[in-house]
Symmetry: C2
Subunit: 559 residues, 2 copies
């Protein structure tokens, strides 16, 4: 994947967090920011808290690239990222501070796998978005579950806080320390334990990179049941810990269904082996579910058992123009009926999005200009059948009032070009000015009402208010652009947008989790009884609170 596709959409996470950040990209500034010389300017900006909130996406992209290239050199410094504890004014909890005897213990346990060099540690202290930065002085690289167990047992006894870390691709500040938590990396836990080519069940260590797993499976005729922009870096353990969604959710469901078993090390070092590879097992409570999506706050996932679907033999795409959102919904119903089991994506975008990709990226609208567009993907075992189904469907919807125009693709280049119209919206948005972005779940029939409502509410205060997203999953990306950042515009959007979502029992974080930056907004999506229960689970499983502190749940004092 292009890094941009990961970085751009991530930025919206800043909006609505504390503090709220916005993105901006002036096309004319791109060439400037591409120069290494801009680094001094980055550093200057970062020392100014207010300006630091106004991140330029193209700058972000460069930093990411540079940081990646210079990961283990001392030539590149990340001083431009303010320390989280300073920017967010967080109070350090009374954990012990790491001592020489602690280091001696770790070095004895993991010879050569205890990183204390300040330069080496830098990229592990900073998140992908360069928005939060911890000041950990130790990174541990266990290879086995037993080592993780011994580390956590020791840390729990010594009251040392721990930050579990996978590929560090999280978007809500959940994967890096806030203070000096010990970083416990799954980087070396990258072994595939077994694959059953009959059942399609893969068992592997938590540190396996998603893309590597896919590459391992594809020659065997299987694929991972999830696919993400960050697949080249993210670890399967991190995917599970954050309940990652992604592009295949409509077809294969969430990790709650596909993850069959987990091995987890608890805060006190005890190993919970629920690594069964069974589709049916009703012997007691399903403990693994509690760890899926717990963002490393309840235990550290060390191994995963996951059900992998067969690799589809054929993929087809249709791009359609719809006269209204009501027609988008009716087309979705027809689509589910006529395409049924081969439907693998149903994405929508409004005309505002199309205008942005045309204007800023010079992409061409392949169909008649319309208020809405729909992208439908099918994945199946028989290309002839799938194409026939799509053609019949297309004939039907175009013969009715649902769709005014459409085009079909079944070969790589055209498929890619059609997907680009949808996938590059975020990129086009950043070229339109300052972007206020929201990633929310809503009941599907309410999905676009929020956009319409926001257009009326903001009126001329916004440059553009557009909506697109995974309609099939009830996942809307609401975007507001403006010429420049304005507190009054932000105040007009928030907390109105969260209240709106809350009113329809929607989710203020569809798939990215709460991490450090969204934990204070949980009450918009969860009742207080649920939050209280979550806090009780946390206390029960991690009484000293050493696992990924300051994340996911607000403390009782913060509520």
């Amino acid at each position: 994947m292009a890094i941009s596709s990961l970085v751009w959409p991530c930025l919206f996470q800043y909006i609505g967090t504390v503090p709220r950040l916005v993105t901006r990209c002036q096309r004319k500034t791109r060439s400037i920011w591409n120069r290494t010389a801009t680094l001094s300017r980055i550093e200057k900006k970062a020392t100014e808290p207010l300006e630091a909130l106004l991140f330029l996406p193209s700058l972000q992209w460069n930093i990411s690239n540079i940081a990646k290239r210079n990961l283990h050199t001392s030539q590149f410094h990340l001083q431009e990222v303010m320390l989280t504890c300073e920017r967010y004014r967080v109070e350090r909890l009374p954990f012990a501070r790491i001592s020489d005897s602690d280091l001696t213990f770790f070095e004895h346990l993991l010879p050569g796998r205890v990183i204390t060099d300040a330069e080496e540690l830098k990229p592990f202290n900073v998140d992908w978005l360069k928005s939060v930065r911890g000041c950990s002085t130790v990174l541990l690289k266990p290879r086995t579950t037993m080592e993780v167990s011994q580390i956590l047992k020791y840390c729990n006894e010594k009251n040392l806080a721990v930050n579990p870390q996978g590929g560090n691709t999280g978007l809500v500040g959940g994967s890096v320390p806030v203070f000096d938590e010990i970083i416990l990396s799954t980087g070396l836990m990258n072994q595939i334990i077994s694959f059953d080519h009959i059942s399609g069940i893969l068992i592997c260590q938590a540190g396996c990179i998603l893309e590597n797993l896919n590459q391992y499976l594809e020659p065997k005729g299987f694929v991972m049941p999830l696919d993400l922009g960050a697949k080249g870096s993210c670890h399967i353990g991190g995917n599970v810990a954050t309940n990652a969604g992604g592009l295949r959710l409509l077809r294969y469901g969430s990790l709650r269904g596909t993850v069959l078993g987990l091995e987890v090390v608890l805060a006190d070092g005890s190993i919970l082996n629920c690594l069964a590879s069974l589709r049916k097992d009703n012997t007691g409570y399903d403990l693994k579910q509690l760890f899926i999506g717990s963002e490393g706050t309840l235990g550290m996932v060390t191994a995963v058992s996951i059900l992998c679907p067969r690799k589809p033999n054929a993929v087809n795409l249709a791009f359609l123009a719809c006269p209204s959102f009501s027609q988008v919904l009716r087309t979705f119903i027809t689509c589910k009926d006529m395409l049924g089991e081969i439907l693998s994506a149903y994405e929508f975008m409004d005309d505002g999005c199309m205008k942005l990709v045309e204007r800023h990226l010079k992409l061409t609208n392949p169909v008649t200009e319309s208020p809405f567009y729909v992208l439908i993907e099918t994945s199946g075992s028989n290309s002839t059948h799938d194409e026939e189904k799509l053609s019949h469907f297309l004939e039907h919807v175009m013969g009715s009032d649902l769709v005014v125009d459409g085009t079909l693709a079944s070969e790589g280049k055209k498929i890619k070009a059609l997907w680009a119209l949808r996938e590059r919206i975020t990129e086009a948005l950043t070229c339109d000015g300052v972007v206020y972005k929201y990633d929310i779940s809503l009941p599907v029939e309410k999905l676009y009402d929020l956009v319409t409502d926001m257009k009326v509410r903001l009126d001329t205060a916004a440059k553009n208010v557009v909506g697109y997203g995974h309609l099939g999953d009830g996942n809307l990306h609401l975007n507001v652009t403006a010429e420049s950042y304005s507190h009054s515009l932000l105040d007009a959007i928030e907390p109105y947008v969260y209240e709106w979502v809350s009113q329809y029992y929607g989710s203020i974080s569809a798939e990215h989790g709460l991490g450090f930056k969204k934990k204070h907004y949980i009450h918009y999506s969860k009742p207080k009884e649920a939050i209280l229960l979550m806090q009780q689970f946390k206390v029960m499983l991690d009484p000293k609170g050493i696992l990924n502190p300051y994340k996911t749940l607000p403390s009782k004092a913060e509520q």
Copy 2:
């Protein structure tokens, strides 16, 4: 469904529990047992503890029918079912006993919906299998969540034990009281709250009967994502509380994926509203998962939000003969490849099963006699495509060494006849003599090894050792028949069979749960760390232990 299809398979639950029961059916005795006059004999047998363990299935069937017909009359007495507390020698926990003031409170809260008449209470005190019987003196029928909340708040304060009850179709003694627990029925909580015809999300109260929900959905072009033999009686709340599996699991996955939200009342009466109808929501821990499959021991499910798939337009069936189990497995792989997304069932049976249905039920083997048979069902949106796929698949496997013969069905009568070969195995088994039955999950490649192993181990001590089941779900039904009940044969099977399953990380209860009768066997499928954690959850959520006591988990003293 025929009641027999529910009762016969249930009986195996007795094997391996305390005490272990066995089934026996001599065809010649059927006519005798069908006479009402046999009731006196039933009563006589039931007073004799040892004989009571030896249930006759045909007798069971009659009792079920009679009990159902006379549910609210005083003409039929259920004295033949021993009290659980006597048969299993359980110690009553120190809960309060219900008083007149308690009854006054309930009558005030639920006017006319407090049942205390002994005759009326009988069927709610006894399980479907007539194997366990409580002695509750009160049944409460709330209509609303608020009423459930008030009941539980009161019971928790007064230390009164409660037995949540849905359709009372559970097979492990989980749905009826052990002593005098108050029965809290979902019987009147049968309202559909909403159905979204775009997303297919249904929200309803816990007491809706599964079949009624299906009948509500079918005209709308949808089906429930689960289907069970007990669908005519079971409640969706009970399905969720027991994580029911059933016939559609291979295609639509488990309830852990399809249940999107729950409303649960906790032991202290607090209402946990996690009834969201969202496919994506990562705001904190997924609490609902803990209640799915917790068998009413952690909270009472009062409402369910569930994702319903489209009703398939076409259903096809293939019945194939395979020369070995290895070929059964290879056919499964080919099947997943060539049928892919339309595959909805992959069942297998060995030659022993076929001989039993031929001999005892006079069914005809439609294909060449072989060591193994496979039944494949497809469900799809386009009948022509589905038939083509199945034909191509059949040509391929019959052209190779995988399959020696096969037949295809796409119309109702022939489909039913082919399904009967697989569905009526349990019935045929009961006509073969005493049956020792086991319902287990195993890694799919190990599935038949247990049967082979058991054949060698038991040799002539057994009349028949056969295996069949849901290969696609890794779910094996192992069955051993003998001319008469023998402790030595049972001892040769158990605990060997559980140890065997445990060795391959299998499950000793694939889908029926642990309830009252299997809770002592949990350690064969779950490590002690997991059991300990489950006990901690129980204590945290229900400190007084009032919710469905004596069920699911062994107490620490019992371990």
